[in-house]
Subunit: 168 residues, 2 copies
């Protein structure tokens, strides 16, 4: 004996299925694995081709955009990671000779970090290849599909941010 499906509007949907979030959970899972697949490959290639980790690449990307350099605090904000995290990454990149750390002349607490000449050359080479990898991985999407995804992911991010704000 089958039940007839009842057409639902947005309002009644929630009332009908108070604890069912199947599609949203599927979407979350797919978003996650999609990002995992792409990121895993970027990590692998960075390591294989340039013997560098993704976090160090990301840090260098920030510095490449700001040639005059920035403080550790600024870096930590832009990368959206903790201060202590940046301290360690900077240590290792300085040791590799890819970036340069100098005490600020106006604030003795602060340090200014910058790409070295070698770091800049190295980063530019990596960035070009990285662009190709990404282009390659998204190659089967049409321009139209890319734009749709950009739009819907922006909407998703906004929706999530609102939910987060509500919850605090």
């Amino acid at each position: 004996m089958e039940e007839r499906p009842i057409p639902l509007d947005a309002e009644t949907k929630v009332a009908e299925r108070p604890h069912d979030h199947k599609d949203e959970l599927r979407l979350w899972l797919r978003l996650f694995t999609c990002k995992e697949v792409v990121e895993g490959e970027v990590r692998r290639r960075l390591r294989e081709r340039f013997n560098l980790t993704l976090p160090r690449f990301d840090l260098m990307a920030q510095l490449d955009r700001t040639p005059k350099g920035m403080t550790l605090g600024e870096l930590s904000q832009r990368m959206m990671v903790s201060n202590g995290n940046v301290t360690g990454l900077v240590d290792r990149l300085v040791e590799q000779g890819l970036i340069d750390r100098q005490p600020s002349r106006i604030d003795r607490r602060a340090q200014i970090v910058r790409l070295t000449a070698e770091g800049r050359r190295f980063f530019r080479a990596m960035a070009r290849e990285n662009g190709d990898w990404i282009g390659d991985m998204f190659a089967e999407l049409s321009q139209n599909e890319i734009e749709t995804l950009l739009r819907l992911l922006a909407k998703t991010k906004a929706s999530a941010r609102k939910a987060i704000a509500r919850a605090r």
Copy 2:
């Protein structure tokens, strides 16, 4: 003096812009931050409400789906993480009394892991709330938009996987 735009098919597109992957890079960045926002909040709430980490939750989710339990190797495959990683997670969950580790009766190398009764109760409670959080974060997306995202993300994943296969 403006140049007239030339209509491009998929073939010529690559030839015209050999090193330009702007939209793809934007899409990658957006995918990344989108996932970061949602995941960050899930981690935060798991920690705050249940004092549990996301990797441990994920491991328990695998076990909840397979009541008869599974070996560490199976777990590591399903979670797509390394063997050594699973060893540590299992250690800590056993210590918390949420899962149970027993030597396999047919293979003395292997161990079978299962949720304990308490672990199952605890996981089910968490999973219900987690579903609500996710539903909440995706609340502004229509059913239609969710379906579009599901479809396009599946296509993205397939495209990335092909590129990865090509590269090896």
